[in-house]
Amino acid sequence: MDELLCVQQVLSGNTSAFAYFVETYQDMAMTIALRVCENMQDAEDIVQESYLKAFRNLHSFRGDSKFSTWFYRIVYNTAVTHAKVKIWTTDYGKEAEEVPALSDYSPEMRLEESEKKEMVSKILDHMPKGDALLLTLYYMEDHSVKEVAKITGLNESNVKVKLFRARKVFKEMLLNYLRLDRKGCCEEIFMKNGR
């Protein structure tokens, strides 16, 4: 569906056309909000507020960027304002050691879908907020570095550096998770990682 056309329809008074945007982007919006505020109820409120803001300011969407980029920036800003937290920490502690490639662990990665889901959610929950958010934005909907930079307000080189570190941290935590017993030792792994 042509999103610009949909925007035009909403602006000309067809409010129900906005349902398309709610339907399409609510999951990702929810994920972004949850990464920032870490609370399901707050995340729901943030998503609702963000959609209202988007609706009120739809006339200011000029179509220079994708609707998703424009909207996720609103979600990100609303979440940061709501959570009143500092997302971007510059202190990474000691530099992460060289981490083996994911393909080296493919036998251990043969997990059930639900197990994978649980594992990834746990790891992302325990990662620094900014890192988890960057990975989510970059990989989940194939946003480019430029788009991630637009959403977060960081500059592109900063995004690249942070993304590189976030990938490393994620792999480190993932490999620790897979190396150790997967059941019930998650906390131990994350404590070992110093997070």
């Binding site: 349902a19 709610v22 609702q48 959609y51 994911l102 889901k117 959610s121 989940m140």
Partner: protein
Amino acid sequence: MEDKNRINNLSEEEQMRELIRYGKTPAPENLKYRIMQQIQMEQALKSRQEFPTQRRRENIWGEFKTIFGIMYAVLAVIVAGTFFLKGKEFFLSTQFWNIVIVVASVFSIFWMITCLDSHLREKKEKKLLPKKDKAGE
């Protein structure tokens, strides 16, 4: 060698992408309806605030036509009555023009009062509307 590295990196990226996608949190079922309901409510409130101004403009124009329409009808009756009772010469007298001026003034004043009344009513409605909204929150 470089090509091999690039291929490895690519598959690494794909693996990461696949893994991270497991971390997507689906929005609750009712969230969409809640959002749409709130948006439609806001839209309805907005049009409720815009509608009275438009209606007021239509009202003033309608009243203008009615009042001055009646005024011209009354003047036409007076002119016809005068013509049949007192003849053509009476139209040139001051007495006749005094009657015309009085009738026109009465209707004009009546129209002015009507405009003032609707203006005051609108002002009162504007004052009341935000209070109603606050109470509804």
